[in-house]
């Protein structure tokens, strides 16, 4: 009964999955191939396990009847034959086909469908993502912009502990980010959209809110996005100039890079590069929207939103934090 309900309801409820971090709503060839593999395995094993559990229940029914009629116990050579056919021969056939399918799927998605033109480096930090476009000299955090319709080469590593890079709708599964190693994967979006990713290797106290946004945009929009990412806006507003002073007075510059303004010297635990902060749509790795109010509250106490994050609270006066936010909002 349960089994029946499960095998009927599961596909129904799964087909309804529309979450933007869903494995069954693929938007790339890699993720689609894996989803197809799943559906083949699901229907095959679904039918087989229904038969096995049905057989078990029928066996119980028979044995109850035998108990009433004092029958049963006809133990013979047939039992061994049955066990070998059902327990060894049948699974062998199924498994061989699964292995063939698995190897074919894996081989087809191990490499991208074409030569990637764009390379992105993603470096895991506790508990955020450093994102680099080495060909364009852009460094940002927690948000990746890619052009639609072209495979993107993704190289991942970690600056501290092991993280795992996973954007279920766009990449062929996840790949671990391991300190001292660089792993490669690829992404491709077939249509424009916003796709969510999340760290999938437990990386410490704030593993839960270490999320990632991938924005897939048409080629020309992407090129425009790239060319808009220029550091070093000239400041003329006194409030913004004051904000830049606060940035140094409050010690922000010891962890945060702003190209041309702040280059932290130590190689310890850096915070996200703020050069393009205002171009990001969220703060704290998708934890909150990047609005003036949220940015102000985040600076005053990031732990309110993301407990355990490495950034300390900054007890700034309302005036100072207002100036700082005004300055940060110029960082496109």
């Amino acid at each position: 009964m349960r089994r029946w309900a499960a095998s009927v309801l599961l596909p129904v409820s799964l087909s309804a999955c529309g979450g933007w971090q869903s494995t069954l709503d693929p938007a790339s060839p890699g993720a689609s191939n894996i989803a197809n593999l799943w559906w083949i395995m699901f229907w095959t094993t679904g039918v087989l396990s229904t038969l096995v559990i049905g057989g078990l229940f029928y066996a119980v029914y028979r044995a109850r009847r035998h108990a009433r009629d004092e029958e049963g116990d006809r133990v013979g050579g047939t039992e061994r034959g049955f066990i070998l056919v059902a327990g060894a021969a049948m699974p062998t056939l199924v498994l061989i086909s699964f292995i063939v399918l698995s190897v074919r799927t894996g081989a087809s998605i191990s490499e991208p469908p074409g030569e990637p033109e764009l390379t992105i480096e993603v470096i895991g930090h506790m508990f955020w993502w450093e994102v680099r476009y080495p060909d364009h000299d852009i460094t940002t955090a927690n948000e990746i912009h890619i052009p639609v319709g072209a495979p993107v080469d993704v190289r991942v590593t970690s600056a501290d502990v092991i993280h795992s890079f996973w954007v279920p709708q766009l990449a062929p599964g996840k790949v671990d980010m391991i300190p001292g190693r660089t792993n490669r994967t690829w992404m491709m979006a077939e249509e424009p959209g916003r796709f969510r990713g999340q760290c999938t290797e437990f990386c410490g106290v704030q593993h839960a809110l270490m999320s990632l946004l991938v924005v897939a945009m048409p080629e020309e929009d992407f090129l425009a996005w790239i060319s808009d990412r220029l550091p070093g806006t000239e400041l003329d507003d006194p409030l913004e100039l004051r904000g830049r002073e606060v940035f140094f007075e409050a010690g922000c510059q010891s962890c945060h890079t702003i190209q041309g303004v702040s280059e932290p010297e130590f190689l310890g635990a850096p915070g996200p590069d703020l050069t393009h902060l205002a171009a990001r749509s969220t703060l704290g790795g998708l934890t909150i929207e990047n609005t003036r109010e949220n940015l102000t509250a985040w600076i005053l106490d990031p732990h309110h939103f993301k407990p355990g994050v490495r950034m300390p609270p900054s007890p700034l006066s309302g005036e100072d934090v207002g100036a700082l936010v005004a300055y940060l909002e110029t960082l496109q």
């Binding site: 499960a6 044995a63 108990a67 061994r80 049948m90 498994l95 106290v205 593993h207």
Partner: protein, 648 residues
């Protein structure tokens, strides 16, 4: 069948020889396998309840997005302790305790091969478990998962003592598992009743024997790697530090080389329980005995070749992974053989009642099939790349481990409780326990498959709303609470039946194995006469294991039953055919096992404070070992026919 009234003189004589000491010493010096086995099981059940409480806390925190019932720190300790407890402090120790209690009774022996080692293993287990929970009480519990991956658990990222407790106490705990495995192997191979050749051994004993060999090969990998981490953390080594030329992946290889066999270490004895329970209720021998035993052996061997399937995403070449995928899928075959052997057994059997042990066995088969098929799926590398470390995996391994290990453990408790306590567990409460637990389990864990597909990762203390995870997480929490209700019924049943359950008699189920021929609970000496085994189902076979009777037995065999020198002796038989080879004198109660365990505690627990306590503890352990092995004149029991009370 023999009873003590059949030969009161022999009963009094053996009772005196095997009598435990009195008073407080009884508690501290006990070495008898039934006392130690029961202690293991009761302690493990306490840890099960603690792990269950942690699970409920976890589920409450995840019932809705962004709840604040547990802080991130508290949540991370809770999920780490839940996993560590279930793996290290519940499943394996409980099954070891069950084996320590049952194996001598099933093979017709009076005691385990090394009774003092047995007691030592228990003390180590108790101390390690209590230390971990003592640390938890003060907020210093390990907090980086039961698998404790480096470099997160290195001194640089987790400088506190939380991880130190994991590293030292888990290593210490595995000492306990290892000694239990060694003595189970020797007991099974050298103390089986005459005639119980390997092909007549009960399936449960086979399962335990294979499991014990697996422990001997798997646990050292864990002890080695946690020792390496201890050196990294406490003595400045760099085994796992990538910056200094170490490799964090080394930890994963060594851990899973232990970790995957460990899954089957929990599964195989449980499967042995089911292979014992089903034939008894179906009133017929197990179908395909040889196939079942060979399958268990195959699982034991194959399980050492699949550890990389926990590491598909670390960046290995796809070709290499495919071999591990094939090996992982291969394990399905021996598992399927066992499932169809049970179905065949039921098919041609006569099932007069579906009592609680049978209910849990049937529930086990259903859940094991469901967990098995998701296991095949995640062995497929590409699917695993997508679904690894999501809630789909949480669903899968709870189906395999709760379905595959906890359900059979409940079956075992309902099945052998009458033997251990002499009273039966209440059947009505048993059904309530089963149905609440079974339905609650499926409500809690089936939705997790879907939550995983929707992209929810494991080990997160919370999640943001709007990802489509809210409703199913709430449902899952409801299921967890229903399971908790089942556990309350179970504990109530245990307590009430222990005190006032219906008397069981020696054999309430009509069992086929030797333990059902003893009184319930068994006498201190287990068997009045050494049984002589002539088939796979000694109590169903004809003639019975008690023929020929004492008077007509050959002199040497009769003597084995009579304790002629008033020593604790038992028969030694050959490993394969169980031909009698001689007699072994078993030790008496002793305080040295406790001393040795405490001495090693000074080393292991002391290492957290300062490494200088390690040699101190080792020196104390040396003293204990000298005392343990000091040759001494065996003091004979002051035995007087008149003085010995007739009543046991």
């Amino acid at each position: 069948m023999t009873t003590r009234t059949a030969d009161p003189t022999l009963h009094r004589r053996l009772s005196a020889v095997w009598a435990p000491p009195k008073g407080i010493w009884r508690f501290l010096t006990a070495v008898n396998h039934r006392v130690v086995g029961l202690r293991f099981m009761v302690t493990a059940l306490v840890f099960l309840l603690l792990a269950g409480a942690e699970a409920v806390a976890i589920r409450l925190q995840l019932a809705q997005p962004m709840l604040g019932i547990l802080s991130p720190e508290a949540y991370n300790q809770a999920f780490t302790m839940h996993g560590s407890t279930m793996m290290f402090l519940f499943a394996v120790p409980f099954l070891e305790g069950l084996a320590i209690y049952l194996v001598p009774l099933m093979v017709g022996a009076r005691e385990m091969a090394f009774p003092r080692l047995n007691a030592f293993g228990y003390w180590v287990y108790l101390i390690a478990g209590v230390s971990l929970y003592g640390a938890y009480l003060f907020g210093y519990a390990p907090d980086s998962g039961w698998y404790n991956y480096v470099p997160l658990t290195g001194i640089g990222f987790r400088p506190g003592v939380n991880i130190d407790f994991w590293v030292t106490m888990i290593t210490f705990l595995e000492v306990s598992a290892l000694v239990a495995a060694v003595e189970i192997i020797v007991t099974v191979l050298k103390h089986r009743a005459p005639g119980m050749s390997l092909d007549r051994m009960p399936v449960f004993v086979w399962a335990i024997l294979i499991t014990s060999f697996m422990i001997v090969f798997a646990m050292p990998a864990l002890m080695l790697t946690s020792l390496m981490l201890a050196l990294d953390r406490m003595a400045g080594f760099h085994f796992f530090n990538a910056a200094a030329g170490g490799d964090p992946l080394l930890w994963q290889h060594l851990f899973w080389f232990f970790g995957h066999p460990d899954v089957y270490i929990m599964l195989l004895p449980a499967v042995g329980v089911v292979s014992t329970v089903i034939p008894v209720f179906c009133r017929r021998p197990l179908a395909g005995y040889t196939l079942v035993v060979v399958s268990a052996l195959a699982i034991g061997i194959l399980s050492f070749g699949v550890w990389v399937h926990h590491m598909y995403t670390v960046g290995f070449a796809f070709v290499g992974l495919s071999f591990f995928a094939a090996a992982s899928m291969l394990i399905t075959i021996p598992s399927a053989i066992q499932i169809f052997a049970w179905i065949a057994t039921i098919w041609n059997g006569r099932l007069h009642e579906i009592a609680t042990p049978m209910l849990f066995s049937l529930g086990f088969i259903v859940l094991f099939v469901l967990g098995g098929i998701t296991g095949i799926m995640i062995a497929a590398v590409p699917f695993n790349w997508q679904i690894h470390d999501t809630y789909f995996i949480v669903a899968h391994f709870h189906y395999v481990l709760v379905g595959g290990s906890v359900f059979p453990i409940f079956a075992a408790i309902y099945f052998w409780f009458p033997k251990v306590v002499g009273r039966r567990l209440d059947e009505r409460l048993g059904s309530w326990h089963f149905w609440l637990f079974f339905i609650g389990f499926n409500v809690a864990f089936f939705p997790m498959h879907i939550i995983g597909f929707e992209g929810m990762p494991r080990r997160v203390y919370t999640y943001l709303p709007g990802l489509g995870w809210d409703g199913l997480n709430f449902l899952s929490t409801v299921g967890a609470l229903v399971m908790a209700g089942g556990m309350v019924v179970f504990v109530w049943n245990l307590v009430a039946s222990w005190r006032g359950g219906a008397p069981a008699g020696p054999d309430p189920w009509g069992g086929n194995t030797l333990e059902w021929s003893t009184s319930s609970p068994p006498e201190n000496y287990n068997f009045l006469l050494v049984p002589i085994v002539r088939g796979r189902n000694p109590l169903w076979d004809d003639p019975s294991p008690w023929e020929p009777s004492l008077e007509t037995r050959p002199r040497w065999l009769a003597e084995l039953s009579e304790a002629p020198d008033l020593r604790r002796d038992q028969v030694v038989t050959s490993a394969v055919t169980a031909e009698p080879e001689g007699r072994a004198i078993m030790p008496r109660p002793s305080l040295w096992p406790l001393w040795l365990a405490l001495a090693l505690t000074v080393s292991f627990l002391g290492a957290i404070a300062t490494l200088y306590l390690v040699p101190v503890g080792l020196a104390l352990a040396f003293v204990a070992l000298v005392g343990w092995h000091w040759p001494r004149e065996e003091k004979l029991v002051g035995y007087n026919e008149e003085e010995v009370n007739d009543e046991p």
